[in-house]
């Protein structure tokens, strides 16, 4: 019996049709296209809900922060409104993306996807780009609600485009890497919940960083949240944001770190 299997005549049948293994940039692009279609197919039923939740969270928090101030001056209103896109982005990047990754882990989706003859990097890049694009409508809608509520005037500058893209990419990659790198879903859940609470209360997104005590100010020089608000503010107003270059750098480093951790986890053979 075994002679039949080891016999030379049977070897060719085991190779995939199309014979040779493919690689190279055109093949990678081809894989990316397939993975985009695959990811989009899985996400499509949730997209509407995700945009709605994101907008509600962003817009809701914008309205809510306003209630906490006895008087809303123009500066306060400007800070809250320009914080709106960041507030809408954080639930997506730091809650929905990690949750999606946790669900995929539980369902074994990663094992399935990684078994396909597609570079694993193509899958990661397709997920990153889809979530980054998905983040934009919620950010815009939250900002529109803020403008309507506080009646402020913004002066948009071209910086806004790289700012939005980098912020979205950074939060998606960091959220993805976090959920992928931490093995226990329960731990991820705890981190995510603690993060949201800390970010929404103790991060200078809707108020100037100068109001923080010294040590917290220093912590926020390293964490990405203040930088997100700063670059967004730089794109929406003139003169309100300082140290914009440094903030872009901080975000870039975080995004790169997110990508690196993802690459490490994805590339590792278990």
């Amino acid at each position: 019996m075994s002679a039949v299997i080891t016999g030379t005549g049977r070897r060719d049948d085991l190779l995939p049709s199309g014979s040779e293994l493919r690689s190279g940039f055109p093949y990678w692009m081809d894989s990316l296209r397939s993975m985009l279609r695959y990811d989009w197919g899985g996400m499509r039923p949730w997209v509407g809900m995700m945009v709605v939740i994101q907008t509600m969270m962003g817009a809701g928090m914008v309205l809510m922060y306003g209630f906490f101030y006895p008087q809303i001056t123009t500066t306060t209103a400007l800070y809250i409104a320009t914080g709106a896109p960041t507030l809408a982005l954080i639930p997506l990047g730091f809650v929905m993306v990690p949750n999606a990754v946790m669900m995929d882990k539980l369902h074994g989706t990663f094992d399935y996807v990684w078994s396909m003859p597609v570079p694993r990097s193509a899958h990661a890049v397709s997920t990153f780009s889809l979530f980054t694009v998905l983040a934009v409508p919620g950010m815009v809608l939250a900002l529109l609600v803020a403008i309507w509520r506080y009646g402020i005037h913004l002066s948009l500058s071209p910086v806004l485009i790289p700012a939005v893209l980098l912020c979205a990419l950074m939060s998606v990659t960091v959220g993805y890497a976090l959920a992928l790198a931490v093995k226990n879903p329960l731990v991820t859940n705890v981190i995510v919940n603690a993060l949201i609470f800390v970010v929404l209360l103790f991060s200078p997104i809707v108020y100037p960083a100068s109001q923080l005590p010294g040590w917290l100010y220093d912590v926020h020089r390293v964490l990405p949240f203040e930088s997100m608000a700063t670059v967004m503010r730089a794109g929406l107003t003139t003169g309100l944001a300082t140290d914009v270059g440094l903030s872009f750098l901080v975000l870039g480093v975080w995004a790169a770190a997110g990508c690196a951790v993802t690459a490490w986890v994805v590339g590792r053979r278990a």
Binding site: G60, F68, Y69, P70, V198, L201, Y207, Q211, L212
Partner: protein, 264 residues
């Protein structure tokens, strides 16, 4: 032959009724709830205390110099949220978990009156909320040096606020059979309690229509009774507030009782 079979099926000792039985059931149900929460219990208490303290301290970052009125509002509002979270938010989620795990039906079969089970759950919710209330108040007082003036009315205020929240959560948990819907509603409730009910800030800051909407819901009134018990000075509308919370409690308890008493 037939009569001896019936004797075998009957529980030994016969059916016991009365206050002694209820008391023993109550103790065992409290123990049951505490045991089923086990290690969660400590986590819940710590998370509650941390979030309360976090809110009390974090609010000062929103201002250059925080006005004392804002600090007072937050410090006297946070206890309401501490009391609500376990009964109103965590309770329904626990029941939703029981439904998916199948222990919901098991609990229903226990030979314990439904009202005793509810009373035991209320006691547990109260126990989980109280430490956070104390810690938040102490930290608020130390940080902002507030003119707190705690009167005896704190007892009914705390008891009723916690009871109303627990009963609302109980009604939600037992009326809604789909766990996903429960999760969604409780998440919304957290959001509403923090930002769209005048608990942590004065009513006047809201648009008038939202303030009117809030009159019909219990959260605004819980903040009123709590604030009246924690500060001196005129507190208009305290009796109305007690009345509104009372009505909500009765309605929620009745709804929960009806849902539990129904035979499917």
């Amino acid at each position: 032959m037939a009569s001896s079979d019936a004797a075998l099926i009957l529980p030994p000792g016969g059916v016991e009724r009365g206050i002694g039985r209820s008391g023993r059931d109550f103790v065992s149900m409290v123990r049951w709830h505490l045991a089923s929460l086990r290690m969660w219990l400590v986590t819940i208490v710590i998370v509650q205390a941390l979030s309360g303290v976090g809110f009390v301290l974090g609010i000062s970052l929103f201002f250059h110099r925080i006005p004392q009125s804002a600090a007072l509002f937050v410090t006297t509002g946070v206890p309401v949220i501490n009391l609500l979270i376990v009964g109103l938010v965590l309770g329904p989620q626990l029941v939703a978990n029981q439904r998916t795990a199948g222990s919901y039906e098991y609990l229903q079969t226990l030979p314990v009156s439904r009202s005793v089970t509810a009373a035991a759950w209320y006691t547990v919710c109260l126990l989980c909320g109280l430490p956070a209330v104390v810690v938040s108040l102490v930290v608020g007082q130390l940080r902002y040096d507030l003119p707190l003036h705690i009167s005896l009315m704190i007892v009914p205020a705390v008891l009723l606020t916690s009871f109303a929240g627990t009963m609302l959560g109980y009604a939600l948990a037992h009326a809604i059979t789909r766990p996903m819907v429960t999760l969604l509603i409780t998440q919304m409730l957290i959001f509403i309690v923090f930002g769209f009910a005048p608990i942590l800030f004065p009513l006047q800051r809201m648009p008038a229509w939202l303030a009117d909407v809030n009159w019909w819901f219990p959260f605004r009134h819980m903040a009123v009774v709590m604030r009246a018990a924690l500060t001196s000075g005129p507190n208009p509308g305290v009796s109305t507030a007690y009345a509104v919370i009372g009505v909500w409690t009765v309605v929620a308890a009745a709804l929960a009782g009806w849902m539990l008493g129904r035979r499917p």
